[in-house]
Amino acid sequence: MSLALATRSGRGIIATSKALKPLAPFSSTVGNPAENCDVVIVGGGPVGLALVGALSASDLVRQNLRVALIEASDLSKVHNWSMPHDMYSNRVSSLTNASQAFLNAIGAWDFVETSRTCAIEQMQVWDGISDARVTFDASEMGLPKPDLGMARLTENLNLQRALLRHLKHNGGIEMLDNTRVDSIERDTAENGGWPLVHLNNNRTLRARLLVGADGFNSPVRSYANISSYGWPYEVQAIVATMVHHPRGAFENPNRTAYQRFLPTGPIAFLPLSPTTSSLVWSTKPQLAKTLLDSEPGILTSMINAAFRLPAVSLQYLHDRILDAVNSGKPLVHSELTEEILWREKSHAIDSNSTYASALDRSSTADVVPPIDSDVVPPLVTGLQPGTVASFPLRYNHTDSYLGEGAGARTVLVGDAAHTIHPLAGQGLNLGLADVECLGKCIDNTLLHGGDIGSYTALLPYAQERYLQNHIMLSTVDKLHKLYSADAASVVWARTVGVEVLNELDSLKAALMMAAGSRPGSGAAAGLHSSMGWDLAAKGAETLVAGSHIAKMFGSALNDTLSGALSGFVQRATKNK
């Protein structure tokens, strides 16, 4: 860097200017009212709020940086959000212990209304076609406090409100809500080309670092000109808050999360309280639309059926509902109940069995339940009004988390950087891990006097998060694809995969660890979690590879052994 100096001073050439010239003070272009701001965060969702939460908790940031958050909606509504204790919002996230540990470390978890959250003690996941089942139990995980569960279901609004209260308590952050970003432009080259964020209230912020926490359609990402790749899944996720009877005295409490992988997409039952749970059901868009448009009883019955009836009957019911709508005479609830009852009879499901859903058995709630009543969630009796909604799902990952060149001094977090299928409940957890890492990266840069907006300062964030997110995104994407298949050979392979998995405690522990369940701090925890990620990816790879091999064998054996084996597989599947 100083070759020129060296050669000159070596020759003893002395420059003439001796006066110490102070640097010209910074001045922006005349007439430009841009306010200098060190960190400008666009987007006040849970991820954006968690980032300002982390920043507001850091002494270094408080002493050195001016931080502003821009959010189009009215955050005071979130700040004052409240609901009766027996009602729940329909947007719920399963916060892993790692996410909780982060929120605890920044001091935000104290503001979460924990009575509205539910620790998941067990997870049951099964194949919709073969019924192969894997069970995760928090008590097997070697957690320091097993009663904390493997994750905690928390309403997004509960978390957002907690983060806002935490911010109010800490202070020091400019919260610009009810404010929209009109446009983002690049400052002139002589001013360093910093992003100028024009707001709809005629203010302009000149950002040292511009953070995009602004979701899938991120304006910050467009400004930074970061491309991304991904694809929409041909599925729509239905969410709702479900009401049901409490579990009886002979059953486990309602702290088990259920997920059934149907060929149309997974359906998940996430417990919130003894009598309330949250639904996430990914299914074909047309069916989702029809279910949302029909009378409420239809959706309730279909939810119960989706956890209980064999896949072939579900397919029949889906077709029946769609046909009825297409012919202009939508099914009424009693017709559907009759259909389900008939299907149950044809599968020899006794009306007192766990798998029976057509008849209302509320009057018999206090009799001894069937011995296997824990294998399916409790019967849903109704949906909390106003909570049924749906949204499309897609896979998306940006090519980079950092803007370069003309888009320099930008960084993406959360959904702006990646969107994921909700089947593993990881979307928000990935976003929180992003902001935890970015917060540490900013702290570390401040400690060493670096420029927090520079590419080199942000590189550790991208290095740490990109690969980890990518592993999780791909794993979940492949799981989705694997379980969307209903070819017999694939089903056989994944059945064997899942059932073997259920026996292999070490692999299972790795998968659970991958769900970020092990709370902890410091390097050791980081090591554990990264190990878990790798093992999780390997597990998924094995499943996929297994299905390929099964396909391969399937075709080869068809030729030689007249399909004896595949016939066996098909029979085995049908018997189940």
Binding site: S9, S17, K21, Q63
Partner: protein
């Protein structure tokens, strides 16, 4: 490499401020977070201003000097975009020697990756040393003269990978850590005491084989190609100072 340099400077100053206070608890928390605040710092051979900017951001009143006019122009234009730097950072197009005639002396003098390009390193060291206040600090970084450093910095960097232009480095000008230590075992700086010129004690006690922790320190800089990041080697790590290293020495108060 820059964050590691700042890390070393910061750690060393923090360590000294602990040593200087009679009760360690007396070090205020602000100073613990940022031991550079308010110090007068001179960066000799500042180049594009990478280190100067970092030190200025940490609150040091920093002067970056460089004998190349274009380097100073680059550094100034780069810093002018950052509104935080205008109050604490200034640049001057000059070699180090003319500053001796000014009365100002500095709490910290840094000269990173300069001495291995200098024709008369002893003279250069003297100049830097004299610009330090009594009790102040001198930080250097350079490359040791070893087969390893030849392999990495000249053969590999200049001829094979062509990361830097050929001729950037001259092997014979590289300086070993022991040579810097030996220099400061002999070097006595002039002290002004009631008008009469006296010489200080040597900066490093020549009667002890190795400098004590409060006198000087040599730390290796290691590059981790997997992370594309430099790390500060632990103290006395075997072989860590065979190539790039940082050197710190403190001027005696009396």
């Amino acid at each position: 490499m820059n964050p590691v340099r700042v890390q070393f400077i910061r750690q060393k100053l923090l360590e000294c401020s602990y040593d200087d206070e009679s009760i360690p608890d007396g070090v205020s928390s602000a100073k613990m977070l940022n031991p550079l605040t308010g110090l007068h710092v001179l960066d000799v051979g500042c180049g594009g201003g990478l280190l100067s900017e970092s030190l200025a951001r940490l609150g040091a009143r920093t002067l970056g000097i460089d004998a190349s006019r274009s380097n100073i122009a680059i550094a100034q234009s780069h810093a002018s975009a950052d509104p935080k730097l205008s109050s604490t950072l200034s640049y001057l197009h000059s070699p180090a020697e003319p500053l001796l005639s000014e009365p100002k002396r500095y709490d910290v003098v840094c000269s990173m990756e300069v001495i291995e390009h200098v024709n008369d390193p002893a003279k250069f060291l003297e100049t830097c040393a004299e610009l330090v206040k009594p009790g102040g600090h001198l930080f250097l970084s350079t490359i040791s003269r070893t087969p390893l450093s030849y392999l990495l910095t000249i053969l590999l960097a200049e001829h094979v990978l062509r990361l830097v232009s050929s001729g950037t480095h001259t092997y014979s000008k590289y300086v070993k850590p022991s040579e810097l230590i030996d220099f400061f075992k002999q070097y006595r700086s002039p002290l002004e005491q009631q008008g009469e010129q006296q010489l200080s004690r040597p900066w490093i006690n020549p009667n002890i084989p190795r400098p004590t922790r409060t006198e000087a320190e040599v730390r290796g800089l290691l590059y981790n190609p997997l992370q594309a990041r430099w790390i500060l080697a632990p103290r006395d790590a075997l072989g860590s100072t065979e190539c790039n290293y940082l050197f710190w020495v403190r001027k005696p108060k009396l």
